[in-house]
């Protein structure tokens, strides 16, 4: 019953073997000179000023989430715009409904104060 998976199975094995082999090879063959500067995390050559693990305002998060939400929904407009003619009246009505619901969401966020920074 599982014969048809033999090929996939072999590929899985080979892939795993190659990945593991690479890791293994680098750890065996690679030169190992360790000094303090090398162990530090770095970004574009700049040394690190503050700890990256610090608190930041939840507002950023909120704005980010809202952005993603509306952004993703706005993406729907592109295929719709391209197929606008072929979708006909049905597409137009649908998109109006879509915008309406989106508008309700926006209104909610706005009135609720989700967009206020302070």
């Amino acid at each position: 019953m599982l014969e048809q998976y033999i090929g996939a199975g072999i590929m899985l094995l080979v892939a795993t073997a190659i990945a593991c082999g690479m890791v293994l090879l680098t750890s065996i063959l690679g030169p190992k000179h360790q000094f303090p500067d090398k162990m530090e995390p770095f970004e574009c050559g700049e040394s690190q000023l503050v700890s990256p693990r610090q608190r930041f305002s939840v507002k950023f998060y909120l704005v980010a989430v809202l952005f993603v939400l509306f952004d993703i929904e706005a993406v729907f407009f592109f295929p719709w715009a391209i197929l606008f003619q072929r979708l006909g009246v049905f597409g137009l009505v649908e998109m109006f409904l879509f915008i309406l619901i989106l508008g309700v969401g926006l209104a909610y966020v706005w009135i609720r104060g989700g967009l206020d920074w302070e």
Partner: protein, 477 residues
Amino acid sequence: MEHIPSPTVDLVSLAPVLVLSVFAMMVLLVDLYVKRDKTLVIFISLVGLLMTAISAFAKFDLPVHSFNDSYVVDELSVFFIMIFTLSSALAILLSIDYNKREGIRMGEYYSLILLCTVGMILLASSTDMIMIFLGIEIVSICLYVLAGIRRSDPKSNEAALKYFLLGAFATGFLLYGMTLVYGATGTTKLGLIAELIREEQIASKPLMLMGIVLLIIGFGFKVASVPFHMWAPDVYHGAPTPVTAFMAVGPKAAAFAAFFRVFAEAMPVLSPSWESLLCIVAVLSMFIGNVGAIMQTNIKRLLAYSSVSHVGYILIAVIAKNSLGSSSLVFYMLAYAFMIFGAFGIVILIGRKENEMLEIADYSGLAYKHPLMAISMSVFLLSLGGMPPLAGFVAKFYIFSAAIKEGFVTLVVLAVLNSVISFYYYLKVIVYMYMKEPEGEFQISLAPMTVFVVVIAMVGTAGLGIFPDPILYFTQH
């Protein structure tokens, strides 16, 4: 330029979903302008649910398939819509006083319940796996938020987070299962899948079977069956009590409706391969649920475990997969809605602001201070245990006879055995209420709406037990 054919739009079929969505949005917007008093919001929500229930009867000549066979209005879905609107309405009624007491002042609460109900309706009416997935996600996301709505309570937060993490995990299984089934059949439409299976035109049987296993896990998580139940006690415990009651009834019923559609309606021919799996899950749910409930000292956890065992019984209806199975499934969910809302209603009534009184020991001597409440609680618990002539007994009997008819004798024997075991812990609560001296004072303020829910639940539990015939008739025709 050729037109892309638009799907068979049938807005009348979709009426319940549309009506409820509009009301949900209305609630959301209206709530922005009322500050403290939520009466208007609640009123709109209840009207919305009522309108939804009415609009469910917009179609005659059932079943009606629309949207390219991905949405159906049939007896099962109409009846489930009734259960959903009922349970949502009861949940909202239960919340009124509870929210006041616990200081939950968010109007989003009500619109979330309504949106969740929209998801449930979609779930119960879908005949396309993509739609089912959509429904499940709508339901789940609303529930994640609802479970964590008491933001200041760490337990509530924890419940939400846990539910979310595990829910996401389970959704992965579900979606993967759907993908595999699609891979095996080349379609997501349940009707087509059924046809392909019947004509033995499945591209790859192992793929299909693998998909079935994953689907069982996905649905099994949503209905909280063993071994995918572990979230249930935690989440039921942590969530606000009305939400717990709501979760135990509405979304579970919706998931069962989809469960039934996918397995009993679309894949009956493959039943030899999934039957045994579901049997094992059902038996495990019954045993683990019951045994787990025995040692609980917290009433909400006790009810959570008991609901796990009830999932086991209800799964038998899916396994029976005959028409009696579907009607017994509906009847059980209705009876279960009354019993659960009644029991949780009492739990809410007994609690107070400083102390929610969730320990079973807190019920000591209730019968002497508040005999009516103790009697109601006993009726709900005994009904959950399957005591004739209450609703729970009729529901169980009905499911068991559906299974017996299909020859699942061992399963029924185990189920009956479990209903015997379950009495032990239901009785424990009754023992505390009737046979222990009161420990502290009960400070019970009889919140009118909560009492109203308990009365409705009482009438439902006793009525469905003594006069089940009209409803049974409806479920079959």
